[in-house]
Symmetry: D3
Subunit: 236 residues, 6 copies
């Protein structure tokens, strides 16, 4: 079986600058190879992800790292501009995400799973879910025009696969090199490898795409689950 | 088996003016036929549900539509007065719902399921759950006196049945005509049938009560699930 | 709310002679008070339930104990005649249960939950589920005529409540005395109180109906879950 | 998104002659339109599905009906030859299904869900699951050679959608006419419409594909869930 | 099997002054007997838990009761200082809990389950979960230094066991006397026994530890579930 | 936290000769280091696990491999003697496992999860579950005397972690070398590395214990879930 992303506009809505790399970059690369248009929306500035040797101007540094990674992928990039560790499903945040969705006009949104480990991931999950709905509602006014219908929504795997029951797997065997190069752009985070509460990122990512691949009969995979809800589910 | 609503005071707490029609009007009619007293609490003004040809004063129009529907049912009507798309589980909203519950004094509250598709439905679910508890707590002061014990709580089906696992079904075969006439009062919404992101409401409602009926061996049914929690569960 | 059993024919299909007492006797008494007709089908002879001081002719003794208990309840009694610890979903067992169902002609069958602790309980669960279907199938011939439609099916609580998620609770507060007197008929089993791998039965039963009662706001309750499956679910 | 069945060999393993029509014929038609090769394996003879006015030689009649339906689809047809209502996961049945799988050599098997309503559906589910594994095991000898790797496995929706949580939906909007014509071949079963314990089949089928379609934003859909297990899951 | 708490620092984060007694005091006593260091963090002042005959200065009274109970246990005590019935996962509350966690420096945090009955319990659950993460994040500054790694997290049983599926049980048979004496310190709450919406606390607690004990083969037990999430799970 | 296996008698009941290595050998080694007594019961002869270059007398070869692995661990070894791919929960198999359990007299049994991929694993799961119960039942006679109480029961992870939700993790970081040496004894199976439907065993095992370790904050872990059922659950 092959899932075709042709003619789709796929927007990953993630909490932190390196979350798309960890959880869905392979799938975004797959989609792009199918000629889909790709967007990445990073909600926080990643301003609290300091390595042991603190970086001045960390938000600016992470912005550049994120731009470098998005460039490798050829993705349009959006920044939510929220503070790390403080993301919540509040009216202003909803409006911001609704407006980003209206600018990019996705047909498919990839969002964090509600069961992921980080409070920002969970807030991003709720925000993405709400915003895909409101983006198509005329009553909710933002600068851009409403969509004519809500995007489909998929929830991404959790970090480390903890507590996530995959609904299906996307084969990313041909795209792991790009995924790894994208992660390589996030030097400020790779510098945290000696940080006791922070896993070496590349090891973490490789273990996950190989384990998901082993579960699904391929060299590397990413796991997802559809959001089975009114107007957010699409038959394939 | 027959579930008797005799002597009950049943309050449906819904997010939007037409949600009671879609999800529980048949059961409310059944309860009333058992001589229960019926209340409907509509939390938002429905002010963002504009049809393609916008209606001036939409909140006032929807209020009248809601009153007409409640009158058909013989239900006491309460309005939360919140803005469409902005419902949250905040202190003021909790106090408002607690006060409404204390005015009506229900023995059974019907609430949206936490897994329903609309952010307002989910907020209404959380609010109704919290308010049934606080309504019976002397420490929480509002204009009306506290209840002597919390009402039982049932969660209603989701729109389109997506992701809802029914705990039980209520036979509404004798009440579909009233349910349809009630929905017919919401003309502003029926006018949205040509709206790309809006299903023709009557078709949606009929498909659902027939499908739930087919699952439960009757012509038409509505599905519910008890809230299995301390002081909110009642043996039958 | 009150669940009325009027006009129903309720058949409990249990594995061992004292299982109906432990898991559903209060509900059967409730149903009978509603003028329902009650049947109990005990699938095994209970021939391996020996107390420390072995009883000769244990199957005959347990048969009499079961008859005494059923008499207290006014229930029609059926025996499957299978050996304790050897119940399986095999063709002969299916035919036996189909025939018993056709003789009693229930509208509601109470069956063990598939997650209960004893292999016989699980086999009885599968058998009762299959037999409710086949009893209404003309193609499956036994001595008695097929039913015109399958009975509804409820799964009973597990022994000790382990791993069972109640769908609803039946108030048996007015029937605990009868339930206890029925259990009292099973003297061969009460004699096992000094048996290391056997709980004192009465304590076990009381703890369970009180805990289920406490969860559901009454003095005593029994918990059930509907079987949500084609033709076996009934709207109330 | 579109799921492509190109180059696949899809085998539906169903319990009764009309189950493929009810649960997966639209998907099989979709797959064929993608140039996949289609097989249908009907495990029982359907010999107990007698209408009110009994048909002599019912197995032969149903065999012809099944062949007519398969011909409409252009599917290769396999018969398990088991008796209706007596299907079990026994060694001989496993060997039979292994041999059929080795003859057709599927890359994808569609099987009943373990939670479906009919004991035969559940036995067929277990058999198909076991046989997809053993068909690729050299140690299990049958007339045909083992596969080089097990087929992927999807579980189909239940009859009436009861208790089934879809993992994904296949759009069959362009194939409902064929699905209906295929069902129309099963005249012996359509004649059961006046049978109290038998739903009018066409109504049942239409209600289901429309409801699943409504849940997934299309006119008609069929729902499935992957079997997430070692060597039976395939990334797409 | 025995779970050893040796060398652990265990912090119970609870909503109300008597919640630790009801849900985890036996386990805390067990841990202390293993020479673990024990902390209790009570998030609200319990200011709305008025008995029928109102108590002046209730927060001060409950503070003393809580101190008396903690003293029996030998636990370090922390107060969140929030108002009863108004606990939410807001930035200030997160910072407060992060700071408490950094002061006590737990290796294991016990938190309310997300499915518990009281809105404060659910808010406390979310807060404890978030704070265990942020307490180890250098980017989140509070008065005390960040932890070097997040504490493990366990969710406690719900009040009355409703809707909680235990992951494991802790044997507290040797500690029920202490648990009961600790509860006995909360005289203001025991005085609520004649309050219609308030269970007699001691009965409630005993029924629960006996029922959990019966499920786990001991005289008394408390049930828990690990939080299976990145950096919050610890192998034993 | 540390889980102590001191004074336990731990019996792993597995389907095939190398299953204990893959799923629980690290935990058995941990238990033994705690001075527990270890047993391994291998139910089938592994007679269908032929590598590409077939081995004569495969059952005898695998028996020796299994004995070598058990010797490394210092485990008492039991053989069920059943044929690979044909294990079922039948009376004779139950009696065999009951007798093995009565010979070893375990306090803890490790069994396959019911959701594992291989039909033999599932049959072994059901058999182990039933036999732990019947082993303590005087009514079920075999050569050895009944146990005085049933052993506790844990379900092991699935092969490849597919579909398994861990209840807890055991740290086996200090025991991976032994686990690998034990697997190394199964040369007949390691020779299957070039077999298309067979994963290289060592890679599979390492990926799994590292991924489970990463989820639980240690270098290597094995995952389990308690069997939460009457008399088979033990508080720790």
């Amino acid at each position: 079986m092959q899932l075709s992303f042709a003619n789709e506009r796929v927007l990953a809505v993630v909490a932190h600058p390196d979350d798309a790399e960890l959880l869905c970059a392979g799938t975004l690369a797959r989609a792009q190879a199918d000629s889909a248009t790709i967007g990445v929306c990073v909600l926080t500035k990643g301003d609290k992800g300091q390595p042991n040797r603190p970086i001045k101007n960390l938000p600016a540094v992470r912005r550049k790292e994120t731009q470098a990674a998005a460039k490798l992928l050829g993705a349009e990039l959006f920044f939510g501009g929220f503070s790390d560790g403080e993301l919540t499903d509040a009216p202003a945040a909803r409006r911001r995400v609704v407006e980003i969705i209206r600018q990019f006009r996705p047909t498919l949104v990839l969002a964090h799973a509600a069961e992921d480990y980080h409070p920002d991931h969970r807030a991003a999950s709720v925000l993405a879910e709400a915003a895909t709905w409101f983006a198509a509602s005329r009553g909710h006014r933002t600068a851009s025009a409403p969509l004519t219908e809500p995007a489909a929504l998929w929830f991404m795997d959790t970090i480390n696969m903890s507590g996530f029951a995959p609904g299906f797997y996307v084969d990313i065997s041909a795209h792991t090199e790009l995924k790894e190069r994208m992660l390589g752009c996030h030097r400020s985070q790779l510098a945290r490898a000696d940080d006791a509460n922070f896993s070496p990122l590349l090891d973490l990512m490789r273990l996950q795409f190989r384990a998901r691949g082993a579960q699904a009969g391929v060299a590397a995979a990413e796991a997802f689950r559809i959001h089975d809800a009114f107007m957010r589910t699409r038959a394939w």
